[in-house]
Amino acid sequence: MTRYLGYRILSSLVVILGAATIIFVAIRAVPGDPALVVLGPSATPEQVAALRTEYGLDGSLLGQYMHFLARMATFDFGSSFRLGMPATQAISQAFTATLSLALAALCIALMIGFPLGILCALRPNGWSDRIISSLSMTGQALPSFWVGIMLVMIFSRMLRILPSGGAETPEAILMPAVTLALPLLSIIVRLVRSGLLEVLGEGYVQTARAKGLREPRVVGRHALRNMLIPVVTVVGLELGGLLGGAVIVETVFAWPGLGRLLIDSIAARDYSVVQACVVVLVLGFVSINLIVDLLYGYLDPRVRVGS
């Protein structure tokens, strides 16, 4: 187990290092100059040069890169040109916001998706299955920015019961979370449905029935646990995507999360924050995958290494 974990952590590090390198190069390859963005259209070349020195951008690229890596090891990304605070500080607020949003969305998706998926699988091709399945198809197809806009139009503009954006009040998380949850919810419904249908045809489910167990127990205990395995994998992947993919929802609802911070920081060529964002997002992604792997081992004793 430890060996396997070691391997996974090592390959995660490779991924993080790769991503960090890519972003380091890419953000510098993009036209535009952080100093220039700060100074605005009135800047003179001398001013720009002076500010670049101030920012430590005048050294060799390799030197900057080594410096970046060295500091990254201690989770220090330098200070933000735009915000005038350490990048990690800027990140931490945004990360909390994004994580809250992602978790809220995940909870909504799981809490609604699971029962609906089970409902579908218990009566495949019944009317409830057809309705839920087609709704879930729709949920997956709707572009989230459009859904967000429509939600704002309905709940904020017409009904005036929810704030249209921001994160000041607890209920403000509802619409962005629902918007974000919608595609995930659809995926979960379909995964649970197909997973459960598949599992329900398995021999051990027959065995459980032959043992005289009641259907709720057969489904709830014997089938569900086995079905969780593919669901966990996909949900993990999706959650990893949610962290970085919430940009649109964050934009529509002015949610002060990582995605927005990333977009704003790129626009400002705020190198340190961009790099920090990417590293944190990638770190989040690989950690989630690692957790999924461990969970996988927990859910399925067959893949437990060393047992």
Binding site: P124, G201, E202, G203, Y204, Q206, T207, A208, R209, A210, K211, G212, L213, R214, E215, R217, H222, R225, N226, L299, D300, P301, R302, S307
Partner: protein
Amino acid sequence: MITRPADTLLSVDSLAVRFGGNEDAFLAVEDVSFDLRAGETLSLLGESGSGKSVTAQAIMALLPRNAAITSGRIVFAGEDLVSLPRSRTRDLCGTRMGMVFQDPLTALNPVFTVGDQIAELFRVRQGLDRRAAWLAAAEVVDAVGIPDARRRLDAYPHQFSGGMRQRLVIAMAIALKPRLLIADEPTTALDVTVQAQIMELIRDLQRETGMSLLLITHDLGVVADVTDRVAVMYAGRIVETGPVRDVYDNPAHPYTRGLMSSIPSLEESPGLLAAIPGMPPNPKERPSGCPFHPRCAFARPVCSVERPALRAMGDRRKAACHFAEEVVRLDPVS
């Protein structure tokens, strides 16, 4: 009207099971009747698609969703299971009827320890507490010949060999001392030597507990080894039934006869086998009249028109062939 001996445990009467909906519906089992007395062993013998497994599933209320019993009765210990609600039949499963499945690998839930799965029976069905259930599980596992039972309860199914897994499945089936054990191809997935071990185990258990055994198999040898009576199925129907020796030595149905001559023996048997020509019919397109007639060497015009009924041949045998008397008089199968 069929008279039943007093000790009849299971009686299946004119059972028919339909698969699929509307257009592609077909009868997987048709007009199947047999009795099983307490302590007796009956084999349902047939090739794939003959309806033998479906019959077992119908008895255990384990038919897949797209299947339904369309007619007939299944009387178990005096109760008609067909008219009972599914939940009541389910109650009988485990306690009064146990089932052993073909593939021990898929029959066990891979994510729970075997102890969990066996103890569950005692906890849920008998209301034992966790500890007592665990002890009872250890006892059963020990009874099916798994060494070091107490310790191995903590293991997962994948940590057992195929033969051991089948023992575990059997343990689950007999844990609550059912009066009827249905074994659906219990040895097909196993090696020859393991197969022998498992059949011996089933026989021993049957001897000890006096339960009845309904054995479903395609293996003529297994049937001969363990059973008193055999019912040969073809295309969803029973074509012949009777004591194993009588049926094997002097088949009354051409299909049984064909089967007997299809298998090579351990002795020298030069030349070609007397194989049955053609293939078993598709359940959706069964031939008219006697379903076996296209493959039958004895077929005459009447066979393609009129379906032969399962009729008595002497007091213990029945056969569904217009010319059963002729067939039975042929030279014995060598």
